[in-house]
Symmetry: D2
Subunit: 409 residues, 4 copies
């Protein structure tokens, strides 16, 4: 284990400098499991729409830890006791909580690993690291699993106003250049407080909270669910569906060794032992792109075309509508495509398909955001916001997309 003499600092275009708090955190960052996050983009294919959005999960994890440092500082200044041990556990938990993400996780989560959530894999990583670091991650894991008695610790890691969200919304807004989606993380953190061991926001922070919810909603529609990005992501999904289908049927195409393993086998939670974790830890964005570039020349019409389209940004046309597209419309398009290209309807369905987009700006069911009134009362922000109908925003908005090739013939 390395010992750092001086304070280690990392440059960050958003916060200026991020300071690494202590040796254990430093050594976790230096670990190959964490270093791998340098090669996993935070926003997947969003850079196809927003070319500035190439930041990585590595940088986001550091940023979240920076905000956690600010949160600890704020809460202590308000006389909330946080021991040094608890403090370190918070930094570790936020740093590692997204470690279970694979490459292009958003789109690929259920393709590479069909039945295991990234949270579960994060936990596997933490347990593995805990063994290596001789139990020093015990408390961080307890907090991560929400088994710690003081509930606000978990809420800072994972909740409606956790440090993860406060960093990624700010970071994604910054790197995409969608400046109106910015949240003032510093102000929101400055307004945090703890009441009965639960996280609350001081009453005067209500407009900042409202703005946070609206900004998040904007980022969803404008960025995360941008139709061109959705179209690209769906290409990626179908590329891997087709590859898995072909591999199951013909044993090829192959990808790199590690990726291959996950495409060939249907991994379940119980299979996720150390050796699978090790293989998973070797995957990053380059495996995906390398495979796609190889498959572009594959003899299968569907696979090669999908790959070419993604690589050359010759994307599908995407229509977003409030209602589900009529089945006949899809069928007709598929038939046309099938006739023209002399492929089966099933093959055509890789190019012409529909799906659902969902966006819930604020959830009133799970963790609500609670305000602390001056009289000590705690109240859900949705009940207090005079005019901005947050209850309405807590209902999911559902839209539908229809994808089809730009040139049908």
């Amino acid at each position: 284990m390395k010992t750092i003499q001086n304070q280690k600092i990392v440059n960050d275009p958003i916060y200026g400098f991020i300071t690494i708090p202590g040796n254990l955190v430093f050594n976790l960052i230096e670990h190959r499991y964490f270093q791998r996050l340098r090669r996993i983009s935070q926003m997947g294919l969003s850079n196809i729409v927003y070319p500035g959005a190439n930041h990585t999960r590595f940088h986001h994890a550091l940023g979240s830890m920076f905000l956690m440092q600010k949160a600890v500082q704020t809460l202590r200044s308000k006389n909330i006791e946080i021991s040094e041990e608890e403090e370190e556990a918070l930094y570790i938990a936020i740093l590692l909580h997204d470690m279970g993400h694979g490459p292009f996780s958003h789109a690929m989560e259920h393709l590479i690993i069909e039945n295991v959530s990234h949270e579960y894999i994060s936990l596997c990583f933490m347990n593995k690291l805990n063994a290596e670091f001789k139990g020093k991650l015990d408390l961080a894991i307890t907090i991560f699993k929400n088994e710690y008695s003081r509930k606000f610790f978990h809420q800072l890691i994972s909740g409606q106003l956790d440090m993860d969200r406060l960093d990624y919304l700010k970071r994604d807004s910054f790197y995409t250049g969608v400046s109106e989606g910015t949240v003032n993380s510093q102000r929101l953190i400055a307004m945090l407080h703890v009441k009965n061991d639960h996280l609350v926001v001081e009453e005067k922070g209500i407009y900042s909270v409202e703005n946070f919810i609206i900004a998040r909603r904007l980022m969803y529609w404008q960025v995360y669910l941008h139709k061109t990005g959705v179209g690209a992501e769906q290409l990626l999904v179908r590329i891997f569906q087709r590859a898995k289908y072909l591999i199951a049927k013909h044993g090829e195409p192959t990808a790199g060794k590690n990726l291959n393993y996950f495409l060939k086998n249907s991994i379940k939670k119980k299979d996720f032992d150390d050796s699978v974790l090790e293989m998973f830890s070797k995957l990053d964005d380059s495996d995906i792109f390398f495979a796609i570039k190889q498959w572009k020349d594959h003899h299968d019409f569907v696979l090669s075309n999908l790959c070419r389209m993604l690589l050359e940004r010759d994307l599908l046309k995407v229509k977003i509508e409030n209602n589900m597209p009529a089945l006949e419309v899809i069928r007709d398009l598929q038939q046309d495509f099938s006739d023209y290209h002399n492929v089966s309807i099933e093959e055509a369905s890789y190019f012409i398909f529909s799906g659902k987009l969902e966006n819930q700006a604020y959830s009133m069911k799970k963790n609500t955001i609670n305000l602390l009134r001056k009289n000590g009362e705690v109240i859900d922000v949705a009940k207090m916001s005079d005019q901005l109908n947050l209850e309405a925003l807590s209902e999911s908005v559902i839209k539908y997309y229809l994808c089809y090739p730009k040139r049908m013939r």
Copy 2:
């Protein structure tokens, strides 16, 4: 009239550089009427809460003109014809449209000039300048008065999405540091279009429009109607009410010559001739502060104390509530104060009073913001926004404040 050889450019921390488009605009900027705006703060007393907010009406006017240049560029790229004459008129109109503001206009508008709106005074200035510049402002004035046939010209100057708002929201957010109140003016402008000679926003700009409305609402509550700022402003109002009362009664205290004129006389629209305009044009923030500093030592208990409180930032305590404070509460506070300081109830009422705050994020009555759908249809954004209840936001929110001294005795 001066001729500029090179492109004149002005540094702006927000936009980088602002280019002065041509000699006429340059000469208007150089005019002493316009130069006076350098000495009038855009946000009045808001710097008492946000110390960075010292930008001037001069800078804001230049910024609005910069955005107008972008708007003209965008519309032309969408094949909306704008002649060179119309273009120049737009720049002049936006540059001069706020010229009628006096110092601390927001608070003082009805104290210095009781019965004349700043828009009317802007028009007086424009007419005066038009005479000096031999009719070259004719079209700008026509547009300003909304008498030009192509209605979107006026809407760019004064409407729900005019260049004035797009600049001041961005600028105020920037200088206060309330970064979550930012609007993406560039994107909003990029989405502008014209349909049937009216300004519309392309459908895909809907989230930007929503964000603009919410950001504006946040800026109102967080900044423009911030309770400490309101308290300071009310002190200012009462200082001048008291001064006018004393002047009317005793002929003193005096202020500087020009300010004195307006405090002594009740100016009406019909009185606003060239000589009054000239005197008005000499007022700026320094007159107000100079008077307050002098009056601080006045023998009148009320006047001197109010002045001292404002100068030393020993402000009134301000409570904001949803309901009007009970009259008895106010009466009791006034009685206490009157007893303790041995002043009349009337005098106490300068220190203890209540009032109303109003904030309407979006107006559905006046100029709605209209979206242009892909099918060519035009629709009010409030009708189209799926989930964010803009109709609710179009109702005014009314709150009440109660002010009283921090130390009652």
Copy 3:
């Protein structure tokens, strides 16, 4: 004395939030002496060139204190002991060290107060406050006077790399929009260390130090000594020279009571007692502008014209040259002016004159910036910089300006 419950935070467009560290500092900020700095612009007349530059000495003082908090944090992390008492003294000293500035201090320092430096007046204020606050400023004053044994404390307040400079260069660059003049204050602070109780910079910070010196040089030529700004400042100087001359001769024109006192009397160090300090504490930018606006209508040709020119930005033409302008050139211009306007040569010399500008990017005489090599050696940065000739930069550059009216007739 007020007690703050919660951490007080102030918005800052540059640093995000500034936290007020404790009650004593809070009460000093609330004091009317400090509040007065809200009405004194940091950059004087520079906003005539850079309209964004309206930030105040108040805001700059808070910013310097913020950087001091970072410096304390950095040094402690490097095991330099700083007691809580020393820490508070640092914050107080940096907060108050520029308090002795009057309005438009740069230009006016030797007009309002001929023979007393602003540092001396700062000290007067501190002593006065120390009496009010019952000796709690003792240590801060000791540090300010450089009488504290640990020399780096004073160097953080006043030295080549003090927190004052690190803030004002960053702040002035930010508000003028001259982005290339920015310094990375955070990085410079992160590189600070202490060796033998003197401030040093870690060796690897050499390029940041070089950049700081060059950026400072650029800010001087591009901003602080910008020829248009110099011209405006010289107008201001001459306005007050003329006013003082007329007052001495004719007892008028008058200005406001407090300003008048300083224009009438030639205050010396020994005169600077409490009552003079009190009068001085009442001066701010509004007194200057109020006087100028009044004097614009004065019957004296010189005074009224100079005032009009400044107010209407009808500035003198300024030529900057490497050599002193020939006396005959000046004489001829003055003669022309005198003939045309029928005024004396002496009166003409208020409009036509020359002077000297001086800029020293780095001083090798006073406090050098010392680097700490890895081997523990301490070395002047000018000796270590391989290639960038800092010794050359340590020599003053002298230029000369010649001012004369744009329209000589």
Copy 4:
């Protein structure tokens, strides 16, 4: 060929929005040759030091084009005639001029393609595209090859102050967070002029030019030649040297098909025909990382260890000195390593080696930066800068690095 109806705009965190000027440029951007730049990082391995630095050559090319649009606007406003055809050629030339870069070009240029410069490959791409686009790139190519009569056209593409540099310095400073390395591209462009068909800078821009040169120097030492980055890059170089050595000797390890071709064959200028270009066009960063990840498990001690070290950021220790390290020192270190790990000295030399770093802030030989004085004279900036010794800066600074493993045993 696609036709765009509306102005296409691209979000950029630095400039706000970048507008695509016309159909031809749009179609070139859409071409797969250009789209490939999305997968090539601009700064190679610098993100190992600066985790924010993940921007791509794609984004940089768009940014350079944006600045070119500003340059055209500025020059036209100064009455320099630029025809529409010339304008489009400028945009095309700047957009494509870096297209010949392969993945990790800085480090890899002489490993993948030993004897062909990236400029030559850019030209190959342009010629190929010119054929596809039926001669529409003729003028752009003429300018790129510096065969156009009006020399400033080429200087805008490639010179000491070209749009490429103005963008990459600004962009790299932005994404690394090294804010003091920023250049004010907008101001530099605003100062551009043309004299005798050569690019010049107006005299008053001298401080901006100086600052540009110093900022560039800082970026070199602080970022491009940062010792940790250099260490990582040298690992990459040695990985590929070793791989090529092994391939030549044993025919393996293999990499992906396209990369393999370049590792197996020593490509010369004359070999660079269309089919080689096509293969080259398929390479991007993912090929490099994929190969390294595979090779990490190779049985060759040298190759596998180098790969592991790079992937896990277990980098070599790097010492930077002014003098070349003594041969004996290197020899001893290698001997130790060889003894301990039981490998040959030759194999040890992959882990322990030295090299040279060179940084020339300003070249007085090639294209000087010329200032245009008010009297019309043109003069090299190095001759005019009073005090900042640019002639000294025009000499290369040479430093030496010594690399060796952190744990020798």
